[in-house]
């Protein structure tokens, strides 16, 4: 599905990623864990075409490195960025409608979206109650749900989620993760970046640990969760 090979990314002279290899298979949830500044967001932004890179990114065996962001999105790689980025001056439903540009293109009238809307409202019923509300006035959790729902409106073939739990109350985090698992079960592979490592390792199949722009460790999520160094550094478990 997605194969990243020897990915190097820099901002000006500041090299941030030093040769990353990473795979996401059909139907998987893959977790990417790392401390602040490790380069997780940079990796997602590299995949979605927002950072100048060298190396290869194969998506269904086509190298997408160097393509423009909207062209990559139109292939079905949809990123839900860190900090949600809802369109603040549009209503919930208008935000969701804009999410369909990715598979239906730019057009004068939005057309009949009821099927897609029903689908995402079924996953996030709370958005339906708020559908006429301007997005800036939603709570943080609702904005996160909207950001994910908007991506779903575009029928993603691969979902890139950047810290969906950031700033949310534990109960809402629980809910968001349940939805992510549900979305994945319906057939969408997910690359999940998380600070909340415990949660992320529980729902994912495989995991990568990123440290200062390098993959330090990778493997089955269960094994990763058992690893001493990982437990100490990312799960807050003190070694006896």
């Amino acid at each position: 599905m997605l194969r990243v090979r020897n990915l190097v990314a820099s901002y000006g002279y500041n090299q941030v990623l030093h040769g990353i290899d990473l795979d996401v298979g059909q139907d998987e949830i893959v977790t990417l864990i790392g401390s602040n500044g490790a380069g997780k967001t940079t990796l997602l932004n590299s995949i979605s075409g927002h950072v100048k890179i060298s190396g290869e990114i194969y998506y269904q065996d086509v190298n997408i490195a160097g393509k423009s962001p909207h062209a990559i999105a139109r292939l079905g790689l949809l990123q839900v960025p860190e900090g949600r980025h809802v369109f603040p001056g549009l209503t919930v439903e208008e935000n969701l409608a804009v999410g369909t540009v990715v598979n239906r293109g730019m057009r004068i009238r939005k057309g009949d979206l009821s099927q897609d809307l029903d689908f995402v409202y079924q996953i996030f019923p709370r958005l339906k109650e708020r559908r006429k509300q301007l997005a800036w006035s939603l709570s943080g959790g609702e904005q996160q749900m909207l950001a994910i729902a908007r991506a779903l409106m575009g029928h993603p073939k691969l979902l890139l989620l950047d810290e969906p739990s950031m700033g949310l109350a534990p109960l809402i985090v629980e809910e968001v993760f349940e939805r992510i698992v549900e979305i994945n079960r319906l057939g969408t592979p997910v690359l999940l970046v998380e600070q909340n490592a415990t949660m992320a390792l529980r729902v994912s199949k495989r995991a990568y640990i990123l440290e200062r722009g390098r993959v330090k460790f990778s493997g089955d999520s269960k094994e990763v969760a058992q690893d001493e160094r990982v437990r100490e550094a990312y799960l807050g478990v003190i070694r006896r």
Partner: protein, 289 residues
């Protein structure tokens, strides 16, 4: 109440509204106050002159062709004056727009000379209103046509899907590209719309006031005042602000002084900045902390 003055003030107000609304469209799309917006009015007027007086087309098709041509001018302006500097500091872009306004001004002089020119009226003659006021039909035409165009652009932005796409691009460009919007295209469309709306104003205005290549300068100042008075970034605010500026200018000119019209407008502007700095309509979008 002087009815004649009221009508011509409202007509001028609608012309300014087309300039200030165009300014706000660009401001909302790229966060830059376009100090070449007044030149769009001037250039649109000259293009209309070219189609109407030099190529001898009737005024209505001349206006339409001028509007289309201004759409192209707006896109060229965006690709030359804004896009290469999109990641630069805002002041660099403001200076670049000012540079572009000189290019428009001198370009118009090179192409059409510096002798003031005019175009045909959409409706000729005068009407007598309430048995007392003699009003030029062109003023009524300006009010009607501008109102329809402003409403059309407003509805396009607020009620159509492409309008929502343009708003989304204006509000968060990074996110817009993540949902598959070709950001360049969406911004170019906004510039085209802005230049068309303002440019038509030039063709409507030309029969009342002769066109000259330096008229953009004072127009910019008045449109900017209108934008601030209306509430920075607000589309309805820009329209109301434009109307106010037109009325202040008309009545100030008649009862106080024609020489100091711009000063009077700025006095009102200063009052607004002192007592209602957010303008008539504050901003619609608030950032959540």
């Amino acid at each position: 109440m002087n009815l004649q003055l009221l009508v011509s003030g409202i007509a001028m107000g609608f012309i300014y509204a087309m300039v200030s609304m165009g300014m706000v469209l660009i401001f909302r799309a790229v966060n830059i106050v376009n100090f070449a917006q007044g030149e769009f009015l001037m250039f649109g007027g000259y293009l209309c002159y070219m189609f109407n007086r030099q190529l001898h087309l009737p005024i209505v098709p001349a206006l339409l062709l001028a509007a289309l041509a201004m759409g192209v001018v707006g896109v060229i302006f965006m690709f030359t004056s804004y896009w290469p500097l999109r990641n630069a500091q805002i002041r660099a872009i403001v200076v670049s727009a000012m540079g572009a306004s000189i290019v428009f001004k001198e370009g118009a002089r090179l192409i059409w000379g510096s002798i003031p020119v005019t175009v045909d009226r959409v409706v000729k003659g005068t009407a007598v209103i309430a048995n007392t006021a003699v009003v030029q039909w062109q003023n009524i035409a300006i009010i009607g046509i501008s109102f329809i165009l402003i409403l059309f652009v407003y509805l396009l932005l607020e009620r159509t899907f492409i309008g929502h796409i343009m708003q989304a691009t204006a509000q968060d460009r990074y996110m817009a590209s993540l949902v598959g919007i070709p950001v360049v295209f969406s911004i170019a469309l906004t510039f085209a719309l802005s230049a068309m709306l303002t440019g038509i104003g030039g063709g409507l205005l030309a029969p009342l006031f002769f066109l000259n290549n330096t008229m953009g300068y004072t127009t910019n100042a008045k449109a900017f005042a209108a934008v601030v008075i209306g509430g920075f970034g607000s589309v309805p605010g820009a329209v109301i602000g434009g109307l106010l500026v037109g009325l202040i200018e008309a009545f100030g000119g008649a009862y106080i002084s024609t020489t100091y019209q711009l000063v009077i407008i700025y006095v009102v502007l200063v009052f607004f900045l002192m007592f209602r700095p957010q303008g008539i309509f504050g901003t619609r979008i608030q950032e959540k902390a």
